[in-house]
């Protein structure tokens, strides 16, 4: 189990961070997902662990978004300020790779642009794209994780890819 968590923990954190744009919330989401995963699915076959873990994470992300919309609704009425962390997660990254400045700048720009464009996608398109393109889940596994049909996954993925290609094409020739 620990080995499995080690293999996915950083991606899971990144995916959660893309979805909620808040480091603390992303950490909470990952921890809650790990707790739920152990109690619910630890007896399942290891080959099923990844999609099942991401299924839990996606549910937690959806719950968080629902809570945020309720909170923002009340903040509009009560006039309170949003406590959402608007700072860019990239700003917290520190240089420890020892890359040359030119490479480092290119990587940072690419990631920044990708992140901006991923944020522009709908939550479903964004998460389907990350699970398929980054985590390498198959269409059926992504369908399990997202709780959608395989047709919907294909559609979300294709739209997300088209949009990202269109927007990032000039940055990534």
């Amino acid at each position: 189990m620990e080995e499995f968590f080690r293999s996915i923990e950083r991606q899971a954190f990144r995916i959660a961070l893309f979805a909620c744009n808040n480091r603390e919330d992303a950490l909470d989401l990952v921890q809650d997902s790990m707790c739920s995963f152990i109690s619910k699915y630890s007896r399942k076959a290891e080959s099923e662990w990844k999609p099942l873990f991401y299924k839990i994470l996606q549910n937690k992300i959806r719950d968080l978004h629902r809570k945020r919309s309720v909170r923002s609704y009340w903040q509009v009425w009560t006039g309170g300020a949003s406590d959402e962390d608007d700072t860019d997660p990239l700003e917290r990254l520190e240089d420890k790779k020892g890359l040359n400045p030119e490479q480092e700048t290119q990587n940072m720009q690419a990631l920044e642009k990708l992140q901006d464009e991923l944020k522009q996608l709908s939550l479903k398109q964004q998460q389907v794209f990350l699970l398929r393109a980054w985590e390498g889940l198959s269409i059926s596994e992504t369908a399990v994780a997202m709780g959608c049909s395989e047709g919907a996954i294909k559609s979300h993925y294709s739209r997300a890819t088209e949009r990202l290609k269109k927007k990032l094409g000039k940055y990534w020739p």
């Binding site: 189990m1 954190f13 707790c35 990254l93 393109a133």
Partner: protein
């Protein structure tokens, strides 16, 4: 077109992987800490028996205890011994006991002590000599009646 897509996805994957390597040490330590915490919490939850396991066990135990609890009360039936039944069912008149009441008292005491030794419930012998003077006819008949009542109570439990 497919090659272009693959190239694009590959670039995206590399960029995202790069972002993992760029996670700061504080975040990585936090992720590691919360992973172990999640595993501890889950382990702790596992070790606790759920209510649906405990409740039937407790109910079964309670049922067994109630079933084996010794019943107390007036309705407890004490099986009379063969001797007492013989006395009651004998054709002899009860006046017979008037003649040798001391003997029957002695019998009763012996039976009581035997029953006490064996842990059975039994009646305590009546002290017949305290209320009436021994030897008078009235006293003797009263003592006889008390003895008979006592044996009857003993039999009825």
């Amino acid at each position: 077109m497919i090659k272009a897509d693959e190239k694009f996805e590959d670039k995206v994957r590399k960029t995202l992987d790069q972002s993992l390597n760029d996670l700061d040490n504080g975040t990585l330590a936090e992720i590691r800490r919360l992973k172990y915490r999640a595993m501890d919490v889950a382990e702790h939850k596992k070790s606790r028996k759920p209510v649906w396991v405990i409740a039937p066990v407790l109910a079964s135990l309670l049922f067994i205890v109630l079933l084996n609890m010794p019943q107390r009360g007036d309705n407890q039936f004490v099986t009379p011994g063969l001797t007492e039944l013989n006395i009651l069912t004998s054709a002899e008149s009860l006046d017979f006991y008037d003649e040798d009441i001391e003997f029957y008292e002695w019998c009763s005491e012996v039976m009581a002590s035997e029953a006490n030794m064996s842990g059975q419930r039994t009646a305590v012998p009546v002290d017949t000599g305290t209320k009436h003077a021994a030897g008078t006819r009235e006293g003797r008949s009263s003592v006889t009646k008390l003895g008979i009542d006592r044996v009857s109570r003993f039999i009825q439990g």
